[in-house]
Amino acid sequence: MSGFIRFIIRRTISIVPMVLLIVLINFFIIHLAPGNPAQIISGLEQPSREVIKALEHRYGLDKPLVVQLGIYFKNALKGDLGYSYIYSEPVIDLIKERIGATLLLTLTSAILAFVSGTFLAAWSSRYKKGILDSILSILSYVLYAMPSFWLALILILIFSSNLRWFPTAGMFNVRLSLHGFARFGDILYHLFLPVLTLTLIQIPVYFRVTRSSIFQVSRDEYILTMTAAGLERKKIFNKYVLKNAILPSVTIFGLTLGYAITGAALVEIVFAWPGMGRLMLDAVFKRDYNLLLGIYFVLAVCICIAILLTDIFYAILDPRIRYK
């Protein structure tokens, strides 16, 4: 077990340079952007001289670039991401309010996509070269090529405008003030279409990876051993092939989450979901750089953490990894 703990520590340390690199990118963007860095950080169109002075002092903008970078690092890691001028609130507070909704959407869809992608791959691998396999394969190309926002619009057209099964926007019905279980149900009801969209666009990734991995694992020696030993096919597939074949999909879970968050931001905008996507759109339109960079930073850190967690989960599944 101590090997496992050492593994976790090693992995955790290894994401530090990544976070630092992102801070570095942000820092450069601020300094390369047109306009005065102090003005950008202040989040004001025309900050007064005193404000600029104060900010220059606080962020060390009157000091050499290297020192500024150090201060910027320190602030970013403390969670001080500057002020948003459109909301006149600290960026970090704005993000804190909305990140939950975004993560709810992203994680739900990622897990659903993982499960259904794996299931479909296992199912289609039983009908190699059949019609079903071809249809699923082409469908996976099409879904992979589909812009998330467009798919969201199409689903709204079909299920909300035409069939009127689902609401078009929001996270809950603001007119009814529901509580407890009813509120939970209401959120699920609103969650359905956005999650469906995001799940659909992620399924191809898991489907393809698992499909080819099932194929590869089926040819591995130990499957031959198990067949030679007279185990039933079903048992071999469900226990030995599947557990070995999902390992690659687990490793890409963290990476795919990054892709999912991108999709989520766009889908949130379509469904007026009260998450970070909306915030991002406002920031883009009103050119609120601070807010934009803050969102970027927080999302990047979230993804790093997600990748770390999937690595750890992977190590639980695959005993070989802990000893490397």
């Binding site: 130990y222 031959l224 198990m226 030679a228 030993a229 007279g230 557990k243 070995n244 599944l317 070989r320």
Partner: protein, 321 residues
């Protein structure tokens, strides 16, 4: 099927279909194995030994084509068995230890889990506790500590892994075991230990065994019969003392000569010049013709018949039986 030997293979052909060729890996292979025999199959790399073993187990990959006049085992016709009948025979009556032990078990399941699944594949209502006890005992016989049961395959050394696979092959007390180059990947000392253990176990369990190797020395040590294979064909078959100490086929002679422990007197160790023929073509004459140093004109175009000299079989134009 009266008067049938324990295992009879007659005119076994196995070929692998490739995109635009077909590799004839086993060609018209025939031999009989009696109960209690320990048959060594020797031959250089690529001569079709593993393919033959997989064919006997009916475990060939989908791109392989198997045909034979007779393939019988313990009174059963192996050729006609359906998947379910095969499943019941495998491991219960005949088991195999594969060439690459390191990959022979699932890397993400503990040894015990996999062993237990093999146990329950043929006898369903054995509780885990009893299985554990049984396996501990079995492991003891092959010098494996029982803690190995709680380990993962990657935590074991090559020799331990090979022992685990041998233990696994013994679980259901089969009548026959095929050992496919079980010692090849191991160091000399482990090799020796393992061979001794195999010898002992074969006796203790009253097994019939096929031991595949490219080391004729191993055959000499463990087996009572030996089959010499070359490019998919059986060239010579008989008792070890006949085949190794008075070989008839030029290829067997060369094999024996090239072995440091078996050569007679102080003859120089000689390799055999040339290499295996391309297996995608059918051979017209003797398969060994291109590399044979005592070939006749006849050998080029006419396939030699099998000459039977008592229980010593050889396929060479120079030998008449």
């Amino acid at each position: 099927m009266l008067n049938m030997p324990f295992m009879r293979l007659k005119k076994v052909d196995i070929s692998y279909k490739l995109e635009n060729a077909s590799v004839k890996a086993v060609r018209s292979f025939s031999c009989d194995i009696e109960k209690g025999d320990i048959v060594g199959i020797v031959g250089e790399s690529g001569s079709g030994k593993s393919t033959l073993a997989l064919g006997i187990m009916r475990l060939l990959p989908p791109n392989a084509l198997l045909s034979a006049e007779i393939m019988s085992f313990d009174g059963k016709n192996i050729l006609n068995l359906n998947q379910d009948e095969l499943r019941r025979i495998r491991w219960k009556e005949i088991s195999i230890v594969f060439q690459k032990a390191m990959n022979a078990l699932s890397p993400v399941h503990k040894i015990f889990t996999q062993m237990y699944d093999v146990i329950t594949a043929h006898s369903s209502d054995i509780p885990k506790g009893r299985a554990y006890k049984m396996l501990t005992e079995l492991f003891g016989k092959i010098n494996l500590p029982s803690k190995v049961l709680n380990m993962y395959p990657h935590e074991l050394s090559g020799g331990m892994m090979q022992r685990v696979m041998i233990a696994m092959s013994l679980i259901h007390n089969p009548k026959m075991i095929i050992f496919d180059e079980v010692t090849t990947a191991l160091d000399v000392i482990t090799q020796g230990q393992l061979l001794d253990e195999i010898k002992r176990l074969v006796k203790e369990f009253g097994l019939t065994a096929i031991i595949i190797t490219h080391d004729i020395g191993v055959v000499n040590e463990v087996c009572n019969k030996v089959a010499v294979m070359y490019a998919g064909e059986l060239l010579e078959y008989g008792r070890v003392k006949d085949v190794i100490f008075s070989p008839l086929h030029p290829y067997t002679k060369a094999l024996v000569k090239s072995h440091p422990d078996l050569r007679i007197g102080n003859e120089l160790i000689k390799g055999i010049p040339g290499s295996l023929p391309d297996l995608t073509y059918p051979s017209k004459g003797c398969i060994f013709y291109p590399r044979c140093d005592v070939r006749l004109d006849l050998c080029k175009d006419v396939k030699p018949k099998i000459s039977v000299l008592g229980d010593h079989i050889v396929k060479c134009h120079r030998i008449q039986g």
